[in-house]
Symmetry: C2
């Protein structure tokens, strides 16, 4: 009941590690008893692989499942592989059907059938129902354990159904309302049921509901759920028949996961499946090396462009001094546009059909930004070096900013049309492309103004 921990995690962690190393398992149990669920989760995250399985075994059973549910999917999967079959079966049976599916998605394929086999027939059927939908779909994240009511039932009857399923149902606060064919006609909240008299017909208080389809991708379904008025949205099949509910807490989990993925990919890394400090260094390396290589190979384009203009560079070496500044500014302008448009796409503020409007707006923004920077940069360079160099820098900044903003603005939309994650495709691609084409523009402008070639 206490919310302020008495001993901090670092101390507990050191104690538990020493006790495990010393084979002193009884005292480990005693130490564990003084820690909160949150502390235990953090301690498990920070223990090395083998000690983690030992410590997990020593958790009291009721605490064990709480802690397990809080671990990241990667750590859950590690832990499962470190435990014995009977222990795994016990954990698995205690999870909700949709949490089981999260875990199965993480585990090696061979493990899943074995785990499912250990469930009761009813639980297996529920889990298999969820597993029947494609990876990444809303159906995969819904709960099959809900309370529904028929539209021609009375409020009293609906309340009895709630009362009968208080223990099992994952959500009882939002009830899908069905017609004779299991079609969703709306929802009713438990609050509205409590507000009405027992004899009222559900038909009189049913509210229109947003629904999501089981085959829709989980992220868009989750956004609909968090944007809806109720704490869960009905999930329907292609014939609009109810198959499950997507609850707001699962929607939050999905969105956190997707946001993590987007942010990671915009930074050019693959998202980690484990907390940072629990991730081995070689996993960190492999989450980054592919992008870094791809970007480096892309950047060889800049070497080629520059080697085309090597003669110009030899004649006017001073041009080389501005290369990092110019391509850096181009890259920044492009990334700004891409970041803004990627976000607008994710929120649905911009649709693929708005391509023309976005291009027009970003060109305008780019020209304005370029002009502001170009005047300042050109004058400064003209004063420090010579006026002609100032003109080269000024005009290049205008051209590069306009081009970068336009490309940065439309790339995420094109990526979306090609069904590629806009977050992956845009920023790295923009940087490479803007770098190379910015250099071409730079040297062409320089050759024209300085009359060299």
């Amino acid at each position: 009941m206490n919310t302020t921990p008495i001993v901090d995690v670092a101390t507990l962690l050191a104690e538990i590690q020493a006790q495990i190393d010393g084979g002193n398992l009884v005292t480990v149990s005693e130490t564990i008893e003084t820690a909160s669920v949150e502390q235990l989760t953090e301690i498990l995250e920070r223990l090395p692989l083998k000690q983690r399985a030992v410590a997990y075994r020593l958790l009291p059973k009721d605490l064990a499942i709480d802690v397990f549910e809080r671990l990241s999917p990667g750590l859950q999967s590690d832990l499962i592989r470190g435990l014995q079959d009977s222990e795994v079966a016990a954990i698995f049976a205690d999870l909700d059907p949709d949490d089981r599916v999260w875990l199965i998605d993480e585990l090696p394929a061979a493990l899943a059938p074995k785990l499912l086999h250990g469930l009761s027939e009813k639980e297996r059927a529920l889990t298999a129902g969820v597993l029947g939908y494609p990876k990444g779909s809303a159906g995969r994240r819904m709960t099959p354990e809900y309370v529904s009511t028929r539209v021609d039932a009375t409020v009293g009857e609906a309340m009895q159904r709630v009362q009968a399923r208080l223990d099992e149902a994952e959500t009882i606060y939002t009830l899908p309302v069905l017609d004779d064919n299991r079609h969703v006609v709306g929802v009713v909240s438990l609050r509205d049921l409590m507000r009405a008299t027992e004899e009222t017909s559900v038909a009189d208080i049913v509210q229109p509901a947003k629904v999501v389809t089981a085959y829709q991708d989980a992220e868009s379904a989750a956004r609909i759920c968090t944007g809806a008025r109720y704490l869960a949205v009905p999930v329907v099949d292609k014939e609009n028949r109810l198959v499950g509910m997507l609850t707001i807490d699962d929607a939050v989990k999905i969105l956190e996961f997707e946001d993590a993925e987007d942010t990671a990919r915009q930074g050019g890394v693959e998202p980690l499946r484990r907390p940072y400090l629990a991730t081995p260094i070689r996993v960190l390396v492999s989450s980054r090396i592919v992008w870094l290589l791809v970007l480096a190979i892309g950047a060889t384009l800049t070497v080629q462009v520059l080697s085309v203009f090597e003669d110009t560079l030899e004649q006017v070496t001073v041009l080389a001094l501005f290369v990092p500044l110019l391509i850096g500014t181009g890259g920044n302008t492009g990334n700004q546009a891409a970041t803004t448009v990627t976000r607008a796409l994710a929120l649905g503020d911009v649709k693929p059909r708005d391509l023309g409007r976005v291009l027009f707006r970003e060109l305008g923004v780019g020209v304005m930004l370029g002009t502001l920077l170009g005047i300042a940069g050109g004058m400064l360079t003209g004063l420090v070096y010579e006026p002609r160099i100032g003109f080269v820098i000024g005009f290049t900044l205008i051209a590069v900013c306009a081009m970068a903003a336009a490309i940065g603005g439309i790339m995420p939309i094109i990526a979306r049309s090609l069904r590629v994650d806009p977050a992956v495709f845009s920023n790295p691609f923009i940087t490479t492309f803007v770098d190379a084409s910015g250099l071409i523009v730079y040297f062409l402008i320089a050759q024209a103004i300085l009359q060299i070639g």
Copy 2:
């Protein structure tokens, strides 16, 4: 009740614009009646300022508040300023106290007292209570309209309190449980109340609860809320006395807002307060120009570094060809590390006291990445150009990657310690710093290996 719209937004929008331009307000009303709440929200977002106020006035009253609540804070504020005082007062009275505070935070300070004045005394007191906490705090986002129960009450008594406040309370599914001094001793869910008999004491079913304090920043409170088992967490004052509840849907709103801010700042733009297409071009420019200028000024450092090595460049012009590739790779490596560590900080996986561990890990990762890239890049360059240039590129890649990963990894932690948003500070700073110091390393290595100076 229908979830699939009959007419699409673009068509409706065009119709409404034509009707408003033609002064045909009756037909506008008719067109509005065919649209869903979501469509109307999107239409309002896309209408120009003046037409927006006209269209909003024509919405049926019950729909108007629904649409208003869905608009982004910036648009709400625009709209308020386009409406008459009596209309504004009506909207304001219909909002929940915490939503009123979101809106007040957006409006010019002079408007707030006028709006508050129009409220009933009770509503004013509730809103003022929320307004009493500092901007950005959890207290500012909590709802003061909850149902609590005393720990020595029976389940029957608690249920009566719920029943009595069905209409007003923003949340009835999680009840804070209080002792004689209004201290929070835990929570009880409506489900648990329904599961127990009427005579059961609340003390027997109360569950330990995470609480947040009213002065804590809203983002960390929201993360605690979405990570908690219940649909709301109690908000307490410094003496652990209950002052409100933070509900999961408000927590989601806070996190969406914070994520938008983080993502925007990592891309070097200020977050937009309105949907992209409803944002004037000059606002887009001003959301980007400051960062772009700051970064460009930072980038002049690279011009200075390069001018120091201008003689070396004149002797071996081929060195200039690799400048974009090397600083690009350094920037990417640094951003990868910063993205990963920023995320880990936000999730609490890494604490400021882990600085040493992060530095050590990132140095390791950087050396490994640099070695892989350096061997590949060095060999390739050695074959295409000459072996000595290959060695220069190879060693530079190792040094730059190690340095960039280390700086990228620790910058977010340092930013956090200085109480600066890690998302703002890290990526742009890293790029500038890594660019300049990478160039120094590059030319020093080149001078050593090529024996020039």
